[in-house]
Symmetry: C2
Subunit: 298 residues, 2 copies
């Protein structure tokens, strides 16, 4: 089958459906609220929001938009023509339980009228408390997904995630990273079909990862101190998304659908002046692990 925009779009829609269905069953209580929206310039999307028992606030969004790019973005992307088509699935889930990590996943496809195209995406994890065993499982699962493309893909995209999900002003990574990739197109070493297969492997890795995290952590008991720490860590998540995340910036500057873009923000967040966790605490240990270059897959 030829991998064209229709095939890709249909697959993304199906991925959104599968993930939503499975998350509802995992959550047990919540069900997704759906908003269908249209974009003035062309296309639209399906924003789905979950406020449940496991997921305090989460979004699983699909969109497929088209039209003409603003000239500054056309220039930044070094494109000859302004017309484009972009489709993708974007997920952010903020759990109730502080022992559960925040998870983010995105797969996307971009195409222009003159046939230029690329894929992008990734999955990354932001635990409120880093749990080694979970980090290892997470990275090994991503490593396996990357093998669909090549044996070098995992280290390359793992480093890309370390560099991308970096809260520069705090000198700490957003979480334990994952994989990030952008502007992947066919070349002498891989076809468009290969890349799509890889993007599918990434999309399909989401549910096994989240189900594993829920099995491991969602029933753990927690104290008010754990919850307070979660709210502070969510503050860092907000700082990254609003200050550094290029995807969010792009959306806000190009007049995207604000509520779909900012569904990534957590439900309750705290900022405390100059909070420093006690030495040798679980919180202090987590901070030590929020840095680039840790090889969790070994």
């Amino acid at each position: 089958m030829k991998v064209d925009r229709t095939v890709i779009t249909d697959w993304f829609k199906q991925l959104q459906d599968n993930i939503c269905e499975d998350l509802e069953s995992l959550d047990g209580r919540g069900s997704f609220h759906e908003d269908l929206w249209e974009r003035e310039g062309g296309g639209g999307g399906r924003t789905r929001i979950l406020e449940g028992a496991l997921v305090e606030k989460g979004g699983v969004n699909f969109s497929a938009v088209s039209g003409d790019l603003p000239s500054n973005i056309q220039q930044a992307l070094k494109l000859d023509k302004p017309d484009f088509y972009a489709t993708g699935v974007s997920i952010v889930l903020h759990p109730h339980n502080p022992w559960m990590p925040i998870i983010h996943m995105n797969v996307r496809y971009f195409e222009t009228g003159d046939g230029t195209y690329w894929f992008g995406g990734g999955i990354d994890l932001t635990p409120h408390y880093v749990i080694d065993e979970d980090a290892v499982f997470f990275h090994r699962t991503l490593e396996t997904a990357c093998k669909v493309l090549s044996k070098d893909a995992y280290p390359e995209y793992k480093k890309w995630a370390d560099d991308y999900f970096y809260v520069k002003h705090r000198k700490e990574t957003r979480g334990i990273g994952g994989i990030f990739f952008d502007r992947l197109a066919g070349d002498e070493s891989r076809t468009k079909e290969n890349i799509f297969e890889f993007v599918q492997a990434v999309g399909n890795a989401f549910l096994p990862i989240y189900n594993y995290m829920a099995r491991q952590n969602s029933q753990k008991t927690f104290t008010k101190d754990h919850k307070d720490w979660q709210l502070l860590r969510r503050g860092r998540y907000v700082e990254f998304n609003l200050v550094w995340d290029r995807g969010t910036k792009f959306g806000l500057e190009t007049d995207g659908r604000i509520e779909s873009i900012l569904m990534s923000l957590p439900p309750h967040v705290d900022w405390k002046y100059n909070y420093i966790p006690k030495e040798d605490s679980e919180e202090a240990r987590t901070l030590l692990l929020l840095r680039k270059g840790i090889d969790w897959s070994q």
Copy 2:
């Protein structure tokens, strides 16, 4: 007396002292926690944080820093030489009571080795609920302070605040504005002394304004619904500060003291997906008033 950097710096320090003393007495319960800090490149500051009865979280900061500007900033400011001296007082107070507004005040002075200098600053108000009477008092007080400089200053700096404190992606102002001014230097119509006198008038306007707001609003009873709305409005405050505020951006990009810069962020914040207040509610009325160009001083 010659208005030089020493005179200005001393006056800013004294302003911080006066405001902190008065706020402690107004708050009744809290007292300021002070952190003295030094900057690697030169200078330092006094960050003072209040967590009290009236003020849930607030900061009153003084700093005086010097050294060489990074070359990109030197270019952006169109300066021949990199060496600079900058001093100022910066205040953000987040009140407990949703009927109390968030207030922000800043006065600052910047000077380079070759004698270039300018003043900047302003005061603006972000009510969770816009109360007409308070908005009128606030703007008239600022209008009076502006008369120290000229009769045209208020409308000009009021418009500047409307344009500056604009949450572009929400298409709403951060609050009811106030005044904002930057790069004021002496010219044929005004001396450096005139401008400093005006900046002092702005600094001195802070306490009368905040005392008035406290008298009017701090004893009002409120419900959980009012509090919930406050937490959502604080979310917009965060969005403005992290996405659009040039001062915050400048601080984060130039490796400023993070905890002093981000003291402006509220203690507890909520984000809810696509929250729309009930028609004709107090919340809906407030949203209608978050726009540019309302002449509150009339």
